[in-house]
Amino acid sequence: MTQTPIRLTVNGRIHEITAAGDTPLLYVLRNDLALNGPKYGCGLGECGTCTVLIDGAAARSCVFPVSGCAGRDIVTLEGLGTREAPDVVQQAFIDEQAAQCGYCLNGMIITTKALLAINPRPTEQEALAALRYNLCRCGTHVEILRAVMRASGQLTEAAD
């Protein structure tokens, strides 16, 4: 097992990672970079809790080896915004109270971010389809959908 350092850009900062190349990106983000956003959910890319942006596209970091990330631009939940200066999607999720336990929240927010990047004003049907493979067990779907519509500027207070 050769371990040459792998250089990746995470949330705008360059990191040299020494790990086996087939290590899923998820573990590098969580353990080497101490990021909490991406979560382990299934290890099979099924549930979406581990979603990050790789070169702007949603990617399931539990099935994406770190060797494939060399030179790529990775953004996690932490890279979107902070409590003091949240991203518009994060703020929309707070405003809509779109979490119960919140474990799936990372995937919901990142997937919404990826969706809005290619479709800034999705219809409800498009939003539902985009989130089809992000699982939520608490049943927060209604609030999450509202958060997506709010983040895309399509939910007015009058409609509340």
Binding site: T23, K39, I54, Q100
Partner: protein
Amino acid sequence: MASPVSNEAERPSGSLVVVRTVDEVTSETFVRITADGSVTAYNGHVDLGTGIRTALGQIVAEELDVSFARVVVVLGDTALVPNQGATIASETIQITAVPLRKAAAQARQVLIARAAERLELPASELRIEDGLVRGHDNRSISYGELIGGETIRLELADDVAVKAVGDYAVVGHSVPRVDLPAKTTGELTFVHDVRVPGMLHGRVVRPPYAGVDAGPFVGTSLIAVDETSVRDIPGIIAVVRIGDFVGVVAEREENAIRAAEQLNVSWKPTPALTDLADVETALRANPSTPRTLIDKGNVDAAISGAAKPMQRTYVWPYQMHASIGPSCAVADFQDGNIRVWSGTQNPHLLRTDLALLIERPESEIDVIRLEAAGCYGRNCADDVTADALLLSRAVGRPVRVQLTREQEHAWEPKGTAQLIDVNGGLDADGGVAAYDLATRYPSNAAPTLALLLTGRISPEPAVLQMGDRTAIPPYDYDHMRVVAHDMPPIVRASWFRGVSALPNTFAHESYIDEAAAEAGIDPIEYRLRYLKDQRAVDLVNAVAERAGWTPRPVREEKDGEVVHGRGFAYALYVHSKFPGYGAAWSAWIADVAVNKSTGDVSVTRVVAGQDSGLMINPDGVRHQIQGNVIQSTSRALMEEVSFERGTVAAREWGAYPIIPFPDVPKIDVLMLPRQDQPPLGVGESASVPSAAAIANAIFDATGVRFREPPFTSERILKGLHGDAPARPQALPAPAPPQRSRIWENPFAKRAGIFATIAAVCTAAIGIGTALLPGRAIAPIARPDASVYSAATIARGQQLAALGNCAECHTTIGGVLNAGGRALQTPFGTIYATNITPDVETGIGAWSYPAFERAMRDGLHRGGRQLYPAFPYTHYAKTSEADLQALYAYLMAQPAVRATAPANALSFPFNLRPLLAGWNALFHEGREFKPDPARSEAWNRGAYLVESLGHCSACHSPRNALGAERREAYLAGGFAEGWEAPALTSLSHAPVPWSEDELFAYLRTGHSRHHGVAAGPMAPIVRDLKALPDQDIRAMAVYLNSFNDTATDRQAQDALATKLESATQVTVASSTGARLYQGACAVCHEVGGLPLFGTRPSLALNSNLHSASSDNLVQVILHGITEPVSSDLGYMPAFRNSMSDTQVEELVTFLRKQFAPDKPAWTGVRETITRVRASTH
């Protein structure tokens, strides 16, 4: 309210605390106010994702008259919070908050009395605003000032007056959840995110009796653990075994994962377990003790006198909590100071378990509770905490243990199956003559797993009395008997949202609906006849009005393929120890659409009404109701644990689907304003009417009663049409004749074939001997590579890439071209040799003529025959100049000393001289001759493909002696357990190959119309990157000449789109379809949200259309871990997540769905077994 950032206990100056003395040395704190004015509230329950942290903060702020922002709520840390038992039964607000509310009120009263004294004003004239006590003269003093440097300790009084509801300013108003800003930005909130200095990573290996926790084999099944099996993994700290508990600890998480997968553990065979294919039979056979909960009137006489007897059985399936995050914990075992960070539901009970497990006093253990993924009852949170503690104790360092998805699915205590028999009927007036209900609930508290696995507690299952929740119907029937048959669990089971009340209510509310239908009376009107509770009546009426319920005394027959229906159900969730008490009242009106052809049920709208009494945080209650509606709709429609041989088979989301976004119903929440009534639990109530409301709606739509959820399309079709399928299914076309699989099946012991081979070879020896012996070519000193130009060496490098030399001559992770890689052939194992220029072990002593002879004639420099696994039959066609360049390149590489292991070939193939005969039969050592009738590109492509490229080595079928069949050039073959598909017009691909698609595939590893290169093809395309575009184009031109079809790009695209739209998966019609939707569709569904990488279309994928399932099985089991390029993305391996049966279901479905014109594959199960055993 402030966010809880730390669980601190100390403040520098004075404080006021309200405590309850437990014994002489122990007391429990409820509220602490410090001199700086901050307020901390302590509660023994935990927030399971329901937002009780926020609601408890509101209660304290209200009673203390401080702003909500000032209150920090500490939950579930055993060192700090009162022991208030497990967070169950939706009782936090209803029960557990009571002392907290009183403590806050008591503190306020003491502080206001002090203020009155200090301000010399009567207390009645003081006002409080956010902890500042103000008199009418505008003088004021704060709580902090009133406390000052003093330490004030108040014993919690029982008779404290709390605020009148009318005076509430904080409670009863919606406030945002305090935890969301942290959760949306990735701050530390979850136990999964705890990082302790020096922390190691652990994984556990669970026994084979997956999900079963009772029986003499539990804790006694381990035979051996072979620690040497993980010796090659770096940073392994320990392998731990205690009884049936097995765990590994490593420095890095991925290495712990690898070790847990790789660890060789042998187990005794598990005895035969209860077959759960038929839940009803299994539950009836489970030993039980009847316990009568109510026996009113004369039930037996009333039943025998019933005008219309009605005997019904309702069956509830096994279901999962299915927490989105598998459980995780961190433990730090230090002498006398043991800390665990846990997502437990019950910190104090867990501490008792941990003390028992490690035989230490509870006082040495601190359970620090952090949030975890939502649990709706007892999941694996306690199990993993105990696992972490055992591993930390073994290594003396902090250890984090993360359960895998598969472990959480398999081992979480299930929400148990339940069987409810109702006997009764209608009297002459259409009323309920009698109601005789018997319920069976095989579940207990699911002891913490490590206690069982280590043998600390007996694996004899406890029998609890929990099947009685809401077992008595809410209806005032004159003759009524309810009996709970208490029984031990069959598989590991414990409470799950709604506990036994949800299944019991499914029976109550289905039965009364059946009775109403039989009586010809509107189902709501019918219920109201028996409903005596005024709040229930109010709720039922309010929900009926909100939904626009029209009375339906007689069911109307509906026409059309999709029929609509509407159903009602009501429940008062009665929980806790019998007779228990009620939480919130709940009623549902569900609208459904049922597709009679596909069996698909959609719940389109739910009106959910609830009377929760006082709602502390109305928005929080609304979210809880919506969550309950969605989750319980999911449970009713699609959730059922599958078992194989009595163990849990569902280990990922495809096998246990939960409701996806597009299937979520529209929800209209109606919350009755009851702010003057005591607050009631809202965590579960809205789930309880769910399944019955949906079943009643399906009946309204179809006229068929469904008494066993989940209401999957198979069940609906069976209910509507009986066992016969809805549509006549096409008979499978006759299977194609089985081709000889000897080449795919290494070491096949087929005596007949072997005898033939030996005979043929022996006959050929006569010819072969003429060529023997191969003359030795004298060794030379290693050539000086500087005699070759850089351009020649570079050209040689390209040619080495074209020939994929390194692929065979390099071990995985080994030094380039140093040999040693084992090549499995039907005739035994051949080890590739060292082709670096090392003089002794490589080819450093080889002159160019020796090299050329090897390449053209398959002879070693020393004269012995080389096996044709080395494709000299192709390399022979290489031009002189190219061979020179290749030689130059190889000689210019670093020499590496490495000797390959000896080949392991069976007789007669271990006799090299026989190969001379083989060569005589099958080898033409001629250089490539261009065809002047063809284009330059074609000839260039032909040269590359047929010489070093050696495409046909894999893509042509071989004869029994392993030689390519020339008459079937590129007609498809097998290599390394993978099918190398036909590249000619014999291709099974639904869209024929074209030059452009061949170019795209060879250049990028991906063709829109065919899929991605995987298996042995991926490294080949990777190697081809060394070649310029025009060479790849030439190969495409040549290969395309074997396709007869003229290609029209537009027509091909149109065909592709047509095939894709015709094969869209819209209904989860089978286990295989559900596996596809849960596991595959995220990356393969046409038109889904783009994820990083390609999105290979299964409708077009050649492998789905092939005559053999091998490649599909290969990628499902082993994934695509090394694609041609990371740009294509990766595919995970499902071998550890799906059983053979599941993979077979999936493969069969994929074939039928995406290659509908092709016959079903035969022998899929055998293929799965074979591919599982292979290493690729």
